[in-house]
């Protein structure tokens, strides 16, 4: 049985619009580009929700040297990945928050602080958050992120959290929302809609 939520990492730096989380090693399948994640703000009843838009694996001179040497052993690889601090930075775009059990889509009143914990969201939280799709505008308006790719990955992931009989309705609703937001750019709209088109099962 998989846990409902999983710790991904700790906040390195944050602003109102987004934050960077550091973690040591990516766990299999977690996190993924487009995942909805949250940071519970300590001593409050607030969770900040965000979407993962970037995962950066940093290098250092030692890693470069090992690659050049070309005689990698599994033990050395484990040492580098799990013992040495190979910093992995995860970029998160803030898309909403939960306060007093109510979900609000938009920027949170306060950003998380350094070392606050980033966790995955459960399927129930994902369904609850995506009941409204107002936050899609935030994604499209965010600068310096691959917004179209993020929307596609996120909506596909969100659809999979719904029961099969309601997935199509969810994606159709999302398509309509995006059509309103991108009615001035039909080429871009078409590209997104084609990629979130429900798959007939």
């Amino acid at each position: 049985m998989t846990p409902q939520t999983l710790t991904i990492g700790w906040v390195l730096r944050a602003s109102t619009t987004g934050f960077i989380v550091g973690c040591r090693v990516l766990q299999p399948g977690v996190p993924q580009f487009g995942d909805l994640v949250k940071v519970p703000l300590p001593n409050t009843d607030t969770d900040v929700f965000g979407l993962i838009y970037d995962v950066q694996v940093r290098d250092d001179p030692a890693v470069r040297q090992l690659i050049l040497a070309g005689e990698m052993e599994p033990e050395a690889m484990l040492d580098q990945r799990e013992n040495r601090l190979v910093p992995i930075e995860i970029g998160v775009l803030v898309v909403g928050y939960r306060q007093n059990e109510h979900i609000f889509q938009g920027l949170s009143p306060q950003p998380p602080l350094s070392l606050d914990v980033l966790t995955t969201c459960s399927n129930a939280e994902l369904r609850e958050f995506t009941r409204e799709l107002v936050y899609l505008r935030l994604i499209l308006n965010a600068g310096k992120i691959p917004a179209d790719e993020l929307i596609v990955a996120h909506l596909r992931r969100a659809a999979s959290a719904y029961p099969p009989e309601t997935r199509r309705a969810f994606l159709v609703g999302a398509g309509r929302e995006i059509a309103q937001l991108l009615n001035f750019d039909l080429g871009r709209l078409d590209s997104i809609l084609k990629r979130i088109r429900p798959v007939e099962e």
């Binding site: 030692a62 040297q65 090992l66 050049l68 040497a69 005689e71 990698m72 052993e73 599994p74 033990e75 050395a76 484990l78 040492d79 799990e82 013992n83 040495r84």
Partner: protein
């Protein structure tokens, strides 16, 4: 900027010219040394006789002949890379320190050791850790009976002892039946005690030898890895070989005709990738206690490179009990090459042990800050010396006003 680089520049040019001119002389000396190596390659008895004469000369003089003695292996023989064990555990430790500083907030010193246990062929994550760092601050730690502040040399000795202690502690925890364990040190095996008073030298060497005994009886192999060695033990032997027995005098022994060549120069082109040189024994008066205790220091040169065009030689020191065991020597030889090739040119575990041990400038500053806070909490008024404060202020950088 206070260094007048324009005045350094012509000196750098002169240095370059001089080094280029030395190449011819060095090439001639190297050719002579290699000819002697081949000529004397299998004349071990005759060489031992000359060593006896050299050591007899030194008995009457204030001079120690330091050089290599041949073993049963032919001097010029290169030993190819053996197959080596598939599963072998390598344990390496390294240490770092903050030396006592009379100009710092207060007198103390700190030793930090890093250790890594790497089990080849296991598919397991290596164990990498730091034993608790040790902060020394009591008067007995800092001063001798005459009130002299502990020297940097003595702190280094204590660090070396701490490094070996970690190996001694870890070996039994990582011993598996039928699987060799290699304890690897960065640098030479003998403890560097030259800066210590004679009595302390003896005490510290005794402690060190006790730990070597424990490693020996554990069944583990022990090696010291010296990268870019400046040693000339074998060249000293060849210089001695080139002297007629009647010519062996203190003056002639001192005037090594191969200076400033090193043994690495000698073996550089003789060892193909993965090959090791013949095994030699170190002959030095300062190492007699190691020999008497059964840990006589032996060494060989090892080309860890995988590419013929770029040899990378290290000097590897081993105690007599490893040198006498052919299977152990092969396992050590193969494992060191395997380790070095992970990172390309230097044993992976030594690089990692150094990384674990090193105390960065920021960490040192953090220790100083913690000390300052604690001393003030204790209503003490720590401060750096006037000299240090002025250095800090003047080195902090100048501001320019337009």
């Amino acid at each position: 900027m206070t260094l007048e680089l324009n005045q350094v520049a012509p000196q750098v040019k002169a240095m370059g010219r001089s080094l280029a001119q030395q190449q011819t002389t060095r090439a001639e000396a190297l050719a002579r040394a290699r000819a002697l190596l081949l000529q004397w390659s299998e004349q071990q008895s005759a060489l031992h006789e000359r060593i006896r004469r050299a050591e007899k000369v030194q008995q009457t003089q204030r001079f120690d002949w330091v050089g290599a003695a041949p073993t049963a292996e032919a001097l010029a023989q290169a030993h190819p890379l053996p197959a080596g064990p598939e599963q072998v555990t390598v344990i390496a430790s390294d240490g770092s320190q903050i030396y006592p500083d009379a100009h710092a907030l207060t007198l103390y010193y700190l030793i930090n050791v890093g250790c890594i246990v790497y089990r080849h062929g296991s598919g397991q994550k290596p164990l990498a850790f730091n034993p608790p760092p040790a902060l020394y601050f009591e008067p007995d730690d800092l001063f001798d009976a005459q009130g002299n502040l502990i020297s940097g040399g003595e702190v280094s000795v204590r660090r070396d002892l701490a490094e070996l202690r970690v190996l001694v502690d870890e070996i039994p925890k990582h011993t598996h039946p039928g699987e060799p364990v290699l304890a690897l040190m960065d640098g030479q095996i003998p403890l560097r005690v030259i800066d210590l008073p004679f009595v302390q030298q003896e005490q510290q060497i005794s402690r060190y030898l006790e730990m070597l005994d424990i490693i020996r009886h554990s069944g583990a192999l022990l090696a010291g890895y010296i990268d870019r060695s400046r040693s000339n033990f074998v060249l000293s032997l060849l210089h001695l070989a080139g002297l007629e027995p009647a010519q062996i005098t203190e003056e002639r022994l001192r005037r090594n005709s191969f200076h400033p060549l090193t043994d690495i120069d000698l073996f550089g082109d003789l060892l193909a990738p993965g090959e090791r040189s013949a095994l030699f024994a170190v002959r030095a008066k300062g190492q007699e206690r190691y020999t008497q205790a059964g840990h006589g220091i032996h060494f060989f040169y090892l080309n860890v490179s995988a590419r013929p065009q770029t040899p990378m030689l290290a000097r590897v020191e081993i105690p007599a009990w490893v040198a006498e065991d052919a299977a152990a020597l092969d396992a050590l030889h193969a494992t060191l090459v395997r380790q070095a090739r992970i990172s390309g040119d230097y044993p992976y575990v030594l690089a990692r042990a150094d990384e674990l041990a090193v105390i960065s400038g920021d960490e040192r500053d953090a220790v100083e800050m913690m000390l300052a806070v604690e001393l003030r909490r204790q209503r003490l008024s720590p401060d750096v010396s006037h000299k240090q404060r002025n250095k800090n202020n003047f080195r902090a950088g100048k501001e320019r006003y337009a």
